[in-house]
């Protein structure tokens, strides 16, 4: 295996491609997500998405944030060659909600909010509460792991170049309204 620090910088693009593919999959192939986790009710883009256009040795960062923000600007950036470098997601499963932000280069979690757990009233409650929190964190981590594994399998196969990238290009180039009408 390569030196970790070298690999971190050299292969940052894998995480960026994963988040870009994830956005495409959320919009265009939501059934694929449910196959990953049968208890998953929905996975949607949350209140923040950050894109970077690093073509021609210059870097342009586009941040879209806000609970009701439209993603048209993001799609426009994709058309100009940008990739997603950070995304906030909302995941619902069995009437419970997880929200978190993923950074493409590290795939570490930030602002991870899991379903509410009961209050800690006595010292004895703490161990149970810690276990419950671990279980809830694990759910979010495992969902992203399974999605990343699926992405890697596709990325390593001939399907990537032959079918997925052309579909993503079509999605990126299509006007958002047209694409949503076609797919749903």
């Amino acid at each position: 295996m390569l030196d970790v620090a070298v690999a971190y910088n050299r292969y940052k693009f894998i995480g960026h491609e994963f988040l870009t593919w994830l956005w495409f999959t959320i919009e265009s192939e939501p059934d694929l997500l449910r196959k990953m986790d049968e208890t998953l009710t929905s996975l949607t883009i949350g209140n923040r998405i950050v894109l970077e256009n690093a073509i021609n040795d210059a870097s342009e960062i586009i941040t879209i944030k806000g609970d009701d923000a439209g993603l048209e600007e993001g799609q426009l950036s994709l058309r100009k060659g940008a990739v997603v470098i950070e995304i906030n997601l909302s995941c619902k499963s069995e009437n419970q909600e997880w929200t978190f932000t993923l950074k493409g280069e590290s795939l570490s979690f930030s602002s991870l909010k899991v379903p509410e757990t009961g209050p800690v009233e006595t010292g004895d409650d703490i161990e149970g509460m810690v276990l419950e929190k671990i279980y809830l964190y694990e759910k979010a981590i495992q969902l992203i792991r399974r999605l990343f594994d699926l992405f890697l399998q596709l990325r390593s196969s001939v399907q990537w170049k032959d079918s997925i990238v052309p579909k993503m290009k079509k999605w990126i180039q299509a006007p958002p309204d047209t694409l949503l009408t076609d797919e749903h």
Binding site: M1, L2, V4, A7, Y8, R10, Y11, K12, F13, I14, G15, E17, F18, T20, L78, R79, K80, G81, V83, K103, G104, E105, S106, L107, S108, F109, S110, S111, L112, K113, V120, G123, I126, E127, M129, V130, L131, K133, I134, Y137, I141, R145, F148, D149, L152, Q153, R155, S156, W160, V165, M168, K169, I172
Partner: protein
Amino acid sequence: MGILSSTVSITPYRVEGKLDQPIMETVARGLKKNAIEDIDKDSADRAVGWACLNEPFSVDFDQHPFLIGTHFVFSMRIDKKTIPAKVVAKYHALEMKKRLKNTGREFLSKTEKKEIKDQVLHMLSMRIPPTPNIYDLVWNYESEELWFLSNLKSANEELETLFTRSFNLKLIRLFPYTMAVLISPLDPVEKDAVNQFTPTRFTE
């Protein structure tokens, strides 16, 4: 407390290596040997070490369990004394003035000024209490994985050093490349192929 907070940040790690048996005793020994030391009445300006999960200002690992279910759960604490530059400048100026008066001289050498500054820093470090920063971690020994509840670069670097020193195990941060080659279900040929990946262009 981090792990029970309403929102958290998590940096996952792969833990490489095996602990000496019996594992519980080995972990307890590593925690106690590298528990954070109190620098309140010391001139040291920072300290890093382990603390109990539920009692981050205690290092009594016999009283506070660090095994919850099948996970080791404890905290890393970084205590740091931050002395404002203007406070240092004030006492430095006062001490230099005092030295000039006592010696009857008009100037101090560069070495004397530095010596006085070091004395001032030492004196202030004894008086200013450290600010504690507490970061929880969850270590699943069986699955060889650890979650550190912070994405701060400096805290992660402290963790990597302290963990290796305490348990003689290596922590490898899990990010897209290491996830692909260390924990993904790709076969060995596919894992090798990851090294050949080049960026995809999604535009014509």
